[in-house]
Subunit: 516 residues, 2 copies
Amino acid sequence: MTTQAPITAASDFRSIDAQTGEPFGEPFAVHGPADVAAACAAAEAAFDPYRSLPRERRAAFLDRIAEEILALGDALIEAAMRESGLPRARLEGERGRTMGQLKLFAEVVRRGAYLGVRVDPALPERQPLPRQDIRLRRIPLGPVAVFGASNFPLAFSTAGGDTASALAAGCPVVVKGHPAHPLTGALVASAIAKAAAATDMPDGVFAHLVGPGTALGTALVEDPRIAAVGFTGSRGGGLALLRLAQARPEPIPVYAEMSSINPVVLLPEALKARGTALGQAFVQSLTMGAGQFCTNPGLVLAIEGEGLDAFIEAAKGAILESRATTMLTGGIHAAYEQGVEALASHGDVETVARGQLGEGVTCGVAALFATSVEAFLKDERLGHEVFGASSLLVRCRDEEDLHRVLRAAEGQLTATLQMDAGDTEIAARLVPILERKAGRILANGWPTGVEVTHAMVHGGPYPATSDGRTTSVGTLAIDRFLRPVSYQNLAEPLLPEELRDGAAGSVPRLVDGQPG
Amino acid sequence: MTTQAPITAASDFRSIDAQTGEPFGEPFAVHGPADVAAACAAAEAAFDPYRSLPRERRAAFLDRIAEEILALGDALIEAAMRESGLPRARLEGERGRTMGQLKLFAEVVRRGAYLGVRVDPALPERQPLPRQDIRLRRIPLGPVAVFGASNFPLAFSTAGGDTASALAAGCPVVVKGHPAHPLTGALVASAIAKAAAATDMPDGVFAHLVGPGTALGTALVEDPRIAAVGFTGSRGGGLALLRLAQARPEPIPVYAEMSSINPVVLLPEALKARGTALGQAFVQSLTMGAGQFCTNPGLVLAIEGEGLDAFIEAAKGAILESRATTMLTGGIHAAYEQGVEALASHGDVETVARGQLGEGVTCGVAALFATSVEAFLKDERLGHEVFGASSLLVRCRDEEDLHRVLRAAEGQLTATLQMDAGDTEIAARLVPILERKAGRILANGWPTGVEVTHAMVHGGPYPATSDGRTTSVGTLAIDRFLRPVSYQNLAEPLLPEELRDGAAGSVPRLVDGQPG
């Protein structure tokens, strides 16, 4: 059984219907500091038993979570639709992604390559001194605090990528559920609890704490038993957690995925050949899911000319036709309106087009703005994220302008090149600049799709994330929750199983630096 | 040619003879903020050309540095002997280690596994959506600031492990030379400059800045072009750099190796069988190099009984016979004396033995103290490092006492078990505790030898280091200066060479998560 921290108080904390802004359903119990302490104590107690389980047992737990999520049936999809305002097809797809992610990490655990096993055998005859036997594996950091995101109530929330990768690494998880979808979170947490019971996991391997406000999250990050933090959300929220973690007597890593405007560079030949098509495709990427993606294309760079005119014309037409859809929460909608208003009223910014109003009270009306290179470089606020379907086009005069803007840009999750074969030379000069600014570089696609795979990096230099050495999507995400330990001259019975001579072949290992 | 930052001022900053405390040789030019800016600008300009070189070119540079260090001949050994007070044999061995480390990283660069190449081929037929081609490699972070250590004037200083691993990763390096060995540092820097010229490296790939005081280091860490910091030294120094790095507009990683007391646990059967031999071997490890090792055994835990009495008797005898040797600097000697005095005058600490005086003005007299579990747990200062040949024995009553002390201990570089076969059960219960406290666990050896190899971890949880997810010794140290980047749907000419189809087989890669 997993620990559900005891409930300290009844409350008026309820689900909000994203469409109407009205509360619905029963109030949720709100967790307080005593619940945080209880959940963290249980997670700490679970850590050694959980990390010591045979890998197959942990893999089976992850697989079972995926199955229990599916077994929640349509109740889960309906709860998520009502709380997030996102449409059914999107949430069904997101459920599939969430399950796929858990099953992929189960495979990673089975394979065991993530342990990074290295063996340097003893060299008893070495001169002037013999070398002792030294073996290395990576071990999990300890209990992990996960802060779910509002914009992916399934794939980046209670049983999302951070939870899956931390559990895979061998870390118990304490989730601070996102207050924008408490019902969805509670359903998913119940699925994890069922899976833990069914696969006989140690008590405390998972806990789900909920409540409005920031006190709960603060107490969680400050708890001395928490060894790392995963977060997806705003820059303000991420930096606040980072500061708390750094100020602890024992500082801990924070993996905060915070903000990105995901520059898209339209290169001249591509613009010439298909400016209109690019304008239409761009708006489709911009407005998908009310623009509520970390990888939304919020910045467009292009050199002025006929091709750009065609792009703008097509994008303008598509924006004008776009109908606003419901945003995740009233707060996100208000922040979006404020961000858009700041751009609209900025002296150096031109409003290219606004979309049509929608039907709900929190519909985000799409927006496209344009500005000059000088204005963009002068006012750093123009480079800040406006979370939602808003984008800013920076009109460049030449390639040098592209370089200036990109060199001045903050760290990003993604950077995209729209290019034709004739753009290869200019693109080759841009790639080294983009590599230093982003975690993922795309050609002729749009950044809003993020594959869950082995080669994916969903990360990037600060302030896109708080730690650009990592990714929060894809199998490499497990690295965030591991650290290496060397074992020198330990007799077989004391060695971890994967390091014993008998385990050769069962997990990938480097022997004296060579696969074997 | 490498950049030697221009010299801004003559000074009275000179080498100090460790034995006599007297200055010798010509004064060194002291670098200031303008030199820092110039070196960082040159390093930034060198970054793209340097990281883009074929791997073989960078490997040849590392090999050549090793050769140029050897070509400095006896002048290097004599300078280091005089500045550090360390004996010839030790420094000749350390030179070999420094060269071996550079050559090992050259091999790592040639092999290319450090790039972590992953390829997920396109799946054009996938339903409901095709998958695009996604490829991943790791790229270097950017220019790295290296702060050399005083206790390894060769292997952890100007061309030491941090420099070697950063250059191997593809990062230009700006060294803040340790003020305790400016002549040694200048000689090694000249060897690196020669190697850079001989192998035609870009200007600015390496710079060496020197001066007393902290202003130089502060300016270096605050320079916006510096992307990461490597440091070996005191806890105070490491934490100061960490705070500077975190307060930058763009925070950067700091790899500070700071302090450790390296607990040694003497298990009952081993004590019974060979208490006397253990006591003698312990003092040998404790007093080697005047105890000036990060991995010096500064804490001994054992359960009281006959075996422990024999250990103490033998250790006492060996300490009484030990003759003090010159410490690295007057400052280090003064801090040692202060630390030892604090223990000697502590109400709950008994002085077991002090060694004999030595001949120089800064000789560190060995010291062994003893205390109770209660006293150790009550006063956290008893767990702080005294850098030098001082150790504290904590008398335990039972296994539970061992657990209590170890659970309360701070993060460590190493933890050692002295054990016989009959101690296996108690050792098996200790290993999971030690794994959470240390980067390396040893059985029946002493922590003071640190192999430079693939499976070595010289790192550990805070405050042993500022980032327990890494190591500063061994080939895994290169990971500190890399971050992953994904390339999605990029045409061959834009892909980095190692990611192209034609490069399959030239570097290890994972294809869809499998070696291939």
